[in-house]
Amino acid sequence: MPVNPEFAGRVYPPSAPYGVSAAKIKEFAEAVGSTDPVHTDRAIAQARGYRDVIAPPTFAVLIAQRSEMAFIFDPEAGVDFSRVVHGEQTFVHHRPLTAGDEIVGTLTVDSVKAAGGHTMIVTRTELSAGDEPVCTSLSTIVVRGGE
């Protein structure tokens, strides 16, 4: 089944909240090799003006992808996950993700375009803590066409 082009413009309901923990921030920072103590030392983070330890710039993917799954696994969307390749990724940070944040993601399917047998899909996830916007994640996925 091809990707359903009518999904362009669709907005999904907000995700369940994701609680950002100091432990997950530390684990993620170690995994990408970010040695800044602002990820692990609350006193250092607070001395720099943050409420608590902050996440590395790409940590947001972990929360945004939870929202993207709602679309990718929507049976009506027609996305074959085994053919999905990540094409592009952009984060716009309004402030760093911080331990203690309860983050809700709201996913919009910005565009669905057929190109050379493949389908390119741009999704946008707005991550917010209550009414405060924290990060915008823009993701382009490519669904490879059949051989």
Partner: protein, 145 residues
């Protein structure tokens, strides 16, 4: 509370400045570590049999791992991991990670633009695995002090 800025001063930065580069060795253990940390457990990133079965040459690194490792040269230069206000890239080539040798990715970066009003620097990052550019148009906007 008195805040201590650790951020690099905008006044000392110039267009064309190169950031300290870094080479990151990627092996299977590193990818399993990232899979757990990021919750991206797609087996193409750690299971060679599965990767080959779906048409890949071997296990490949998560594009998001490479993106996350690349920006560490920017945050280390900026003096604060919270300094990156925008960061984007294209994933142009996969990083193939053989069991025996792993893979080395070399990250380098250059300041390409400065905004006096916002005290922000645009930094373009290059990620090379052998001769392959594995990230395309990897660009970070950095809030300096």
């Amino acid at each position: 509370m008195s805040e201590v800025s650790t951020r690099r001063a905008f006044s000392g930065v110039s267009v064309g400045e190169t950031l300290p580069s870094k080479t990151v060795h990627i092996d299977r253990a590193r990818l399993v570590q990232y899979a757990g940390a990021s919750l991206d457990r797609n087996p193409i990133h750690w299971d060679e049999r599965f990767a080959v079965k779906v048409g890949l040459p071997n296990v490949i690194a998560h594009g998001m791992f490479t993106m996350g490792a690349a920006v560490t040269i920017v945050t280390e230069w900026a003096g604060d991991a919270g300094a990156v206000v925008r960061y984007g890239t294209r994933f142009t080539k996969p990083v193939v990670v053989p069991y025996e040798t792993g893979a080395d990715v070399e990250f380098s970066a250059t300041v390409t633009a400065l905004n006096e009003d916002s005290r922000q620097a645009t930094v373009e990052i290059t990620a090379l695995c052998g001769a392959d550019k594995v990230l395309g148009r990897a660009t970070a906007l950095v809030q300096l002090g």
